[in-house]
């Protein structure tokens, strides 16, 4: 079976030149998600005051409030995800694309998958996951 639970990672957005984004290093406990050449999201245990981008005009901001996150885990997590998206997941890492018709960010780790969606769609996607994956959700 698969398990679904809400999680609360911190999210920091960095908007800077592609070169500056290339230089962004993940703080311990966070994952670098390159959502666009000039845009990075740091997801996990991260404090915005610890993030520095050496470029005038760059935007570095805690945007945790803008995201709702869920974690899918368990033996049937991949099966559950196949009912939500046509994305092909890597063994590990970051991908983005449509999940239940919503643009989402996905962080894949061994045995679990984190799905981040814009906060105003959190209730909608949770309902969709629980209905569409009912057969395989614990």
């Amino acid at each position: 079976m698969a398990e679904l639970r809400a999680v609360s990672p911190s999210v920091v957005a960095i908007l800077a030149s592609a070169a500056a984004c290339d230089r962004v290093a993940a703080p311990s406990g966070a994952i670098v998600c390159r959502v666009a050449p000039p845009e990075v999201l740091l997801v996990g245990e991260v404090d915005v005051s610890d993030v520095h981008v050496d470029e005038p005009g760059a935007i570095v901001e805690d945007v945790t409030d803008g995201w709702t996150a869920f974690e899918l885990a368990g033996d049937d997590a991949a099966d559950a995800f196949s009912r939500l998206s046509e994305l092909e997941l890597p063994e590990e890492g970051f991908v983005q694309g449509e999940v239940a018709r919503i643009g989402a960010k996905l962080i894949v780790e061994p045995g679990r998958l984190m799905i981040l969606v814009p906060a105003m769609l959190g209730a909608f996607i949770e309902e969709r996951i629980r209905i569409d994956c009912a057969e395989v959700l614990a």
Partner: protein
């Protein structure tokens, strides 16, 4: 064992029965009526290829009765005929061929135009495959995406062998079939072979068997959607093996669609599997060894054989007791009325008539290659088994029905050819041959033969091997009839956005509904009281739905200057400006407020429904102009609450230690303040026409900020307001709702908003178009309206045409009875005539109501109240 209900009567069925076999056993012979001429249609192919047995089952139209298993209590009915399928008066059209020639629907229903509405209804009643159930809610289907190395379509012997071999080579395999494995195969060696293979592949861990899953098509990618009961499986394979087998050839001769004419597999299955004789006296035309097997099956079931037509190569193998053997004979014609009564077999120029009630045709196989032909050249799709076999289509006879679905005869094809349609593809479009439910499974090859024989299309040798049947028309999905609910799998729900205050609104008893993609409160009980709270005291509204953006980077000022038509270079930090957003054609796409922030960035709001588009347009323009700009969409991150009313400032002062006086939070302007401990950007707005502060705040802090405002606002009898009250509040100020009051081609001038455009700017998006448009005369504009004699509920007037001298010159877009002004007001667009724009208009359909064009705003024209 059990029974189904067929048009009001009980029909018993036995284990293993299909709907068709149960009905046939019960004496039903006419299963449908042909689309155009309402000719009787009976069981024919027995393999789910032809359209003859498409019935409505439990409200679902177009179910192949010969494939669908029976279930106790199911409701079955035939879709055609008036007053009934059995006694169909519309059969009279069969004697009116001359009035309904090929393509008559293109030629006949042109004039008079007014007659079309009636003709359309008549045609719809007379044709079609049944009606969609108007009251039945769609069943919710789920979708699954599955990746595999190999998808095998068809679980017959060839498909199972291909699956076994691929799995043995280490590939992940999915094998699918529209029926349970082996269900369509008569008992015997072939079924035994399939059962053995089935056991073998089911034991292989690399193989997933999806029986009861129908492949709808092959899409670029590769992707093959499989539809099943309440499930759509979207398979993404690396390669596809099509093992769909073959249908028996549908020969064309006069009378080939009479009840009693069967293809061999259908007749043999009825006799051998279901134990029901398809007729008493038969003529069998066996062009293959399979045909001889069918002959034996029929004999074993007790059918008397009157004659057998076989080629010379099979003449010596015709079993005893098969009546007269006509070597190298062919069917010349079948005769009959309600059912088949005789068949004329011909050899050379010699013909002989045989009385019979059953004609069984087994002339060879037509590979089911439709799926494979959907693949693009180079895609990894291969045919195996009978699906890859040779095409044995015989030449067409001298007449007969080519297309069973669309009622197209050989005569029709000849006539179309003579009219100049001289290619299989355009013959298809003109005559609709192959465009019915069977998608050419029966008629596709006969059409090709016709075109090829007439010399209209390329010969087989010139086409790639995969498309070996030359001159075939294009094969497209869906390969099988599919319900809309299956296609809508996983897209049943509208995507609803919710603000952080959603639960708070529900707890307060708000009536919520969709607006601009969000679920929003329309009222908390009495919208008029909510209105009065805004006008007389203080109120709050959840406006977290607004689009919210930070625009930063070295070229941020350049981007906003080029994005918006008003001046932005003089916007001092702490000040805001109303901005229109235009497209390249100068049409108004959106509006909002632009705030200049002290750190050199800009904060922008957009309409609730326009946020996604605004984000895309900002980024697009920045990219096109190679600007060094960063756009941070804060719509999800920040909520917003509008605090509005004469006591709005008093309320804020109770909750903040920061200065919120008129000199500290300017109008139009903003300031960053802390309200009830929540960091807020307080933006002065004027949409409702009263002193107002939009408090933009971190989304997670929304509920505590809202509760604090409600609690402290009680001192002024604060009531929250929803969209119902907002509708009147903004209308009294003459503010437009984009989308409701505007048209897609509205320019600022048409909306009376030229004041929001600075044509003296060097360039902004849409400027060139506006320059050209100003040279044209004004033909339409949005105006303020006051109504005389309007109904009490003037909101009903919304959408009503506006007339001058009986001619429509405009339309009401907004209308409300104004509480502040004690009269009915509205907005609407009007067209100019030679005499200019009208000033008085009739409101169509509202009993003499009149509208007068007046200036806006209706309420507080000087704006004193909102400046506070």
């Amino acid at each position: 064992m059990g029974s189904l209900r067929f048009e009001g009567r009980e029909v018993a069925f036995t284990d293993g029965d299909t709907i068709a076999s149960a009905l046939f056993r019960a004496g039903v012979r006419t299963f449908s009526r042909s689309m155009k001429y309402h000719r009787r249609r009976a069981l024919y192919c027995g393999t789910g290829d032809c359209p003859n047995c498409l019935l409505t089952v439990d409200g679902t139209p177009a179910v192949h009765a010969c494939q669908a298993p029976c279930a106790d209590g199911m409701e079955v009915r035939r879709p055609h005929g008036w007053p009934s399928t059995e006694r169909d008066l519309l059969h009279v059209t069969d004697s009116l061929h001359r009035l309904m020639p090929v393509g008559f629907y293109y030629k006949t229903f042109i004039r008079p135009r007014f007659a079309w509405e009636t003709a359309e209804k008549v045609i719809r009643r007379a044709t079609g495959l049944g009606a969609l159930p108007p009251t039945t809610a769609a069943e919710r289907s789920v979708v699954r995406h599955v990746r595999t190395d190999v998808l095998v379509v068809g679980a017959g012997a060839a498909g199972l062998e291909a699956a076994r071999d691929a799995a043995a080579a280490g590939e992940r395999v999915i094998v699918c079939d529209e029926s349970p494995i082996g269900a369509a195969i008569a008992p015997g060696a072939a079924l035994d072979r399939v059962r053995a293979l089935e056991a073998e592949v089911r034991a292989m861990p690399e193989v997933t068997v999806l029986d009861g899953h129908t492949a709808l098509g092959i899409y670029e990618g590769l992707e093959v959607p499989l539809v099943a009961d309440r499930e759509l499986v979207r398979v993404h394979p690396k390669r596809v093996v099509v093992a769909a087998g073959a249908a028996e050839i549908h020969p064309v001769f006069p009378g080939n669609d009479l009840p009693g004419v069967w293809l061999g597999r259908g007749a043999a299955r009825m006799a051998g599997v279901h134990g029901v004789r398809p007729g008493d006296v038969a003529v069998v035309v066996a062009g293959t060894e399979e045909g001889l097997a069918h002959l034996e099956t029929l004999q074993a079931s007790g059918v008397r054989i009157a004659a057998v037509a076989v080629p010379t190569s099979l003449a010596g193998r015709v079993p005893e007791g098969s009546g007269e053997v006509v070597v190298d004979g062919a069917v010349y014609e079948a005769r009959g009325g309600k059912t088949l009564s005789s068949v004329v077999l011909r050899r050379g120029t010699e013909g002989k008539r045989f009385d019979c009630d059953l004609l069984v045709l087994s002339l060879g196989l037509a590979p089911r290659d439709g799926l494979a032909r959907m693949a693009l050249p180079g895609e990894a799709v291969e045919l195996v088994g009978d699906a890859a076999g040779p095409d044995a289509t015989p030449p067409n006879g001298h007449d007969g029905t080519v297309c069973l679905c669309e009622d197209v005869s050989l005569h029709d094809l000849r006539q179309a050819w003579d009219e100049g349609y001289r290619n299989a593809e355009i013959l298809k479009r003109y005559t609709t041959t192959t465009m019915g439910p069977c998608q050419g499974a029966m008629c596709g090859r006969a059409l090709s033969c016709f075109a090829r024989d007439r010399g209209g299309t390329a010969p087989a040798e010139t086409t790639p091997a995969l498309f070996a049947a030359a001159a075939r028309t294009t094969s497209r999905p869906p390969a099988r009839p599919v319900t809309l609910e299956s296609l809508a799998a996983a897209v049943h729900e509208l995507i609803d956005k919710r603000t952080s205050l959603h639960d708070v609104h529900l707890a307060a008893g708000a009536r919520v509904d969709r607006s601009g993609g969000w679920i929003r409160p329309f009222t908390y009980g009495d919208w008029r009281e909510e209105y009065r709270a805004v006008r007389e005291r203080v109120s709050v509204m959840d406006v977290g739905t607004l689009g919210k953006f930070t625009i930063g980077g070295a070229d941020a000022a350049t981007l906003v200057d080029r994005m918006f038509p008003c001046r932005t270079d003089d916007l001092a930090p702490g000040r805001t400006r109303y901005v229109l957003s235009l497209d390249e054609a100068g049409y108004v796409m959106d509006d909002g407020l632009l705030c200049a922030v002290a750190d050199g960035t800009f904060y922008l709001t957009s309409t609730s429904g326009g946020a996604v588009r605004t984000d895309a347009r900002l980024r697009d323009l920045a990219d096109r102009m190679s600007l060094d700009v960063h756009v941070l969409d804060r719509t999800a991150q920040w909520g917003a609450i509008n605090v509005a009313g004469p006591h709005a400032r008093d309320l804020l002062e109770r909750l903040t230690g920061d200065a919120v006086d008129a000199g500290s939070v300017l109008y139009p302007g903003f300031a960053d303040v802390t309200v009830a401990g929540v960091p807020c950007r307080a933006v002065r707005t004027g949409f409702v026409g009263e002193l107002a502060f939009e408090l933009h705040h971190p989304r997670s802090r929304g509920p505590e900020l809202w509760e604090a405002l409600i609690r402290e606002g009680a001192a002024w009898d604060l009531l929250p307001h929803g969209l119902d009250a907002l509708e009147l509040l903004r209308l009294e100020k003459g503010h437009v709702y984009l989308g409701q009051d505007t048209m897609p081609d509205d320019t600022p001038a048409k909306l009376g908003m030229s004041w929001a455009v600075s044509m003296d700017k060097e360039w902004f998006l849409g400027k060139r178009a506006l320059e050209r448009l100003t040279e044209l005369p004004a033909t339409r504009k949005l105006v303020g309206l006051e109504f005389d004699g309007a109904p009490a509920d003037v909101a009903d007037v919304r959408g009503a045409p506006l007339l001058v001298g009986g001619q429509m010159v405009g339309r009401v877009t907004s209308a409300e009875p104004s509480i502040a002004l004690d009269r009915s007001i509205g907005l609407g667009w009007v067209r100019a005539s030679d005499a200019g724009f009208p000033s008085a208009l009739d409101v169509a359909g509202h009993g003499g109501a009149r509208a007068h064009v007046v200036a806006t705003p209706f309420y507080d024209p000087s704006g004193e109240r909102l400046r506070g």
